[in-house]
């Protein structure tokens, strides 16, 4: 089925030119009491950018998304969507920003179709278009056979999909998704990835907050790692994955059998840090230099460590994230 028309009467400023800046975040700060949830963040995203937002719980990801959506008042700074400032009294930007919370709000007593009808009315879509859009998006989120069922009878994953359909109904240019895959089953996650890629390729800006780093690796164009309200690292996926991969990296060493007192043994080896032992598996940080790595392997064997395998960890988001040393925020 072809995607429904975005606007019944397209306005010149509604259709952004390719690769134009759609989202601009300028010195945005959100503070609650003394806690700075989002600390003076600035970045820009262009059409076709898909930013994956990662970080521990309490890092400020949700607050940032809510601030961009206009749901959270900012203490200072400003957000612009397609050049228009995000303010509670600016209704124009709301047509172009979609936001799905980690647990989307719904009217449980309504059927899926009724709920989406309500959303269509709320966005002022022409009546004849509402039904076609509902059919289209229900098919996209694999709920076309649930249209007539009351939302209260559906599972968490299905409600999550309704939330995504609700966000995409008005066909926004900037799409903000907070933990969208949390309630989805494995098949749903695969389909969801395809949907995100399709939206990205249509030239939309997406920000997806997720803990599932392997997924983000596949569909994101950019990654931002957040901690304590700040962006610790931000860049393209490749840049972030490679970042910090200078003179040290993590090695995973498989052991023939578990060895007692291995941590003490390794503490005597110069240059080794971040040792984690898990039965017959060992992770440590050491120089990236191949010659030095070979010397380390030789020394381990010399010290009687029964090494079965020895390999540097492949650069990736998980590695990049762990290398930042971010701990869970209390």
């Amino acid at each position: 089925m072809a995607q429904p028309q975005v606007e019944s009467q397209p306005q010149s400023r509604s259709e952004p030119p390719a690769r134009s800046v759609l989202l601009s975040v300028e010195k945005v700060r959100v503070q609650f009491g003394k806690l700075v949830a989002v600390r003076d963040l600035s970045f820009e995203l262009r059409a076709g950018d898909l930013l994956g937002l990662i970080g521990p719980n309490g890092a400020g990801k949700t607050t940032l998304l809510r601030a961009i959506a206009g749901l959270q008042a900012v203490t200072s700074g400003r957000v612009r969507v397609m050049g228009e400032e995000v303010r509670p009294d600016n209704r124009w930007f709301k047509r172009h920003v979609g936001f799905t919370a980690d647990t989307p709000s719904v009217y449980e007593e309504l059927t899926v179709r009724e709920f989406l009808e309500f959303v269509g009315l709320g966005y002022g879509l022409p009546r004849e278009e509402v039904n076609s859009r509902i059919d289209f998006w229900l098919q996209q989120v694999w709920l076309d056979n649930k249209a007539g069922e009351k939302i209260k009878t559906l599972s968490r994953g299905m409600r999550q999909r309704i939330g995504i359909a609700r966000t995409l109904m008005p066909n926004p240019h900037v799409i903000l998704l907070d933990e969208p895959a949390a309630g989805l089953d494995p098949a749903g996650r695969v389909q969801f990835r395809q949907l995100l890629c399709s939206l990205r390729d249509q030239g939309k800006v997406l920000i997806v907050s997720s803990h599932i780093l392997a997924d983000l690796n596949e569909y994101c164009t950019h990654i931002a790692i957040m901690a304590h309200g700040s962006i610790v690292q931000m860049g393209t996926v490749a840049q972030v994955a490679e970042s910090g991969n200078g003179d040290r990296c993590r090695y995973t060493i498989g052991l023939v059998r578990p060895v007692a007192g291995l941590t003490d043994t390794l503490s005597e080896v110069a240059g080794v840090s971040g040792v984690q032992v898990d039965r017959d598996r060992l992770v440590l940080e050491y120089s990236t230099d191949r010659a030095r790595a070979a010397a380390l392997l030789a020394e381990l064997i010399q010290r009687g460590v029964p090494v079965a395998s020895f390999a540097p960890n492949t650069p990736g988001l998980e590695e990049a994230y762990l290398r930042t040393g971010i701990r869970q925020v209390d």
């Binding site: 300028e26 749901l71 203490t75 200072s76 700074g77 047509r95 919370a101 309504l110 309500f118 002022g124």
Partner: protein
């Protein structure tokens, strides 16, 4: 999708659906028709000779039931609609949509009320059918219902506004309305009587029972209700748009105070034709009403003063953070407090036709000395708290009520001190009470001498001290604290 007119407003449409839609409209109004119609038929058949008086009694009862349907049933339906959206988190979903705040507020009223309106419509029709046999002019029945509907719409908007401010406050509003009706407050504060006159004073029951013509005051009451509805509608829309700001902006608050002053003056002027039947206080009420209204007016003035102080503090925080979206400097809360003092001083000056510059000057000074320190108190409070209710309450207890307690103590001491004469004790008590703004205002307008001067000077000193305290406690960026609701 339904093609009903409600589909023009998505919030109205969804709440109408959630309340059962057309099915519940038919069920409720049909059920009402069967029960009430059956009871009326049974009553008339039971005593056919006295049918006229039975139907007349039923007509008055139907009017009372109509009050219940429109005010209580309608009000609670509106409250529940807003509360449901808060509880389900759908209010945030609505705020994401490009719906104008006024559209949303209207949606809550329109979506929640079709069922109450359908039952009320059935009630209206039953009344229309029995009005003729009960020898009541059907036009009077329609006029009374029309007035009641207007008042009900006003009350629904007030309930939406209160519900958006806080889920609990809508219930408080309903309780407050009942208490106002039951207490003598209607007599002391004529502004209430003007706005509530379809139910008290020149009321709808009089129109049905006596065929009372529309008085001037009823016309003024209708205008006052329309203005009140507009003001509360604007406040509700503002609160819907952004829930972390006070409902009334400084400008809207100033308009609300001006409205209150105007309605108070109308109420005092038209009191003879407004006076509620249940009023127990007799005699010349002008001075009492003017002073009581003035004191309540000071409380109403807290709204704009607090809102202006909130904006100033937000601006201060943004400036400290070098905010790129700083915007214009907001209006000064102290200047606004002075404007409000002038506005409120008009109540006794006009209502009591008092040309004395001394009295009016003292009144103005007292009001300024009351509102200016409050502006500073609000600003200091908003540095550490999102809401100012606690600190303002403590301030009122200390500055307004404490002098009265001491004053009362002096009078008690008179009873156990034989050396003290009553006039002396009374003078001392009055002088001490004038350290409170209430006591000072009473003293200014009831006694001929200048006994209130020490108290007034004390209040001015307190105002200056608050100014000094505020200006010496300017915090830097390092101390920046952003209060949030429920914190600290």
């Amino acid at each position: 999708m339904s093609d009903s007119p409600l589909s023009l407003n998505s919030i109205a449409w969804v709440h109408y659906r959630l309340r059962g839609g057309m099915r519940s409209v038919i069920l409720q109004s049909g059920g009402f028709l069967v029960i009430v119609g059956g009871l009326i038929i049974a009553a008339v058949r039971g005593d056919p000779k006295d049918a006229r008086s039975i139907l007349y009694g039923w007509l008055i009862s139907l009017l009372a039931i109509q009050v219940g349907i429109l005010i209580l049933y309608g009000g609670s339906a509106v409250r529940n609609a807003v509360r449901r959206d808060f509880q389900t988190g759908m209010i945030a979903s609505h705020r994401l949509m490009p719906i104008s705040p006024s559209h949303a507020v209207a949606g809550y009223v329109l979506g929640a009320c079709p069922q109450p309106l359908a039952v009320a419509g059935t009630n209206l029709l039953i009344g229309l059918l029995i009005a003729g046999p009960a020898r009541v002019n059907p036009a009077d029945w329609l006029a009374a219902n029309g007035l009641l509907l207007l008042f009900a719409v006003c009350s629904w908007v007030v309930v939406v506004c209160a519900s958006l401010i806080s889920a609990k406050s809508a219930g408080v509003v309903l309780v407050a309305l009942v208490l106002i009706f039951m207490s003598g407050l209607l007599t002391l504060v004529p502004a209430f009587t003007v706005v509530c006159s379809p139910l008290v004073g020149s009321n709808i029951f009089g129109i049905v029972m006596r065929g009372a013509a529309w008085s001037d005051v009823l016309h003024l009451s209708v205008i006052a209700q329309l203005v009140a509805t507009t003001l509360f509608f604007l406040a509700a829309a503002r609160k819907y748009r952004r829930d972390d700001v006070p409902a009334a902006s400084p400008r809207l608050g100033l308009i609300i105070v001006a409205y209150y002053v105007a309605v108070t003056l109308i109420g005092i002027h038209y009191w003879p034709s407004l006076q509620p039947v249940i009023s127990t206080i007799t005699g010349p009420l002008g001075p009492l009403q003017a002073l009581a209204s003035l004191m309540l007016g000071i409380l109403v003035a807290f709204l704009p003063v607090g809102a202006a102080a909130w904006r100033e503090e937000e601006y201060r925080r943004r400036r400290l953070l070098d905010d790129p979206a700083l915007g214009r400097r907001p209006s000064n809360s102290v200047e606004l407090a002075l404007k409000l003092a002038f506005l409120l001083a008009l109540i006794p000056a006009i209502a009591l036709a008092e040309p004395s510059l001394t009295r009016n000057g003292f009144t103005l000074a007292c009001l300024a000395a009351t509102l200016v320190p409050l502006a500073y108190l609000f600003r200091l409070t908003y540095r550490v708290r999102a809401t100012a209710g606690l600190f303002v309450g403590l301030w009122i207890a200390a500055v307004w009520i404490l002098p009265w307690i001491v004053s009362f103590g002096v009078l008690v001491a008179y009873g156990i001190d034989d050396t003290l004469e009553l006039p002396v004790a009374w003078q001392r008590a009055e002088a001490i009470a004038s350290f409170s703004p209430i006591g000072a205002l009473i003293s200014i307008w009831t006694s001929g001498d200048q006994r209130h001067l020490p108290g007034l000077i004390f209040q001015i000193i307190v105002a200056l001290l608050m100014a000094v305290l505020y200006h010496t406690r300017r915090s830097g960026k390092g101390e920046l604290y952003v209060p949030v609701a429920g914190s600290k």
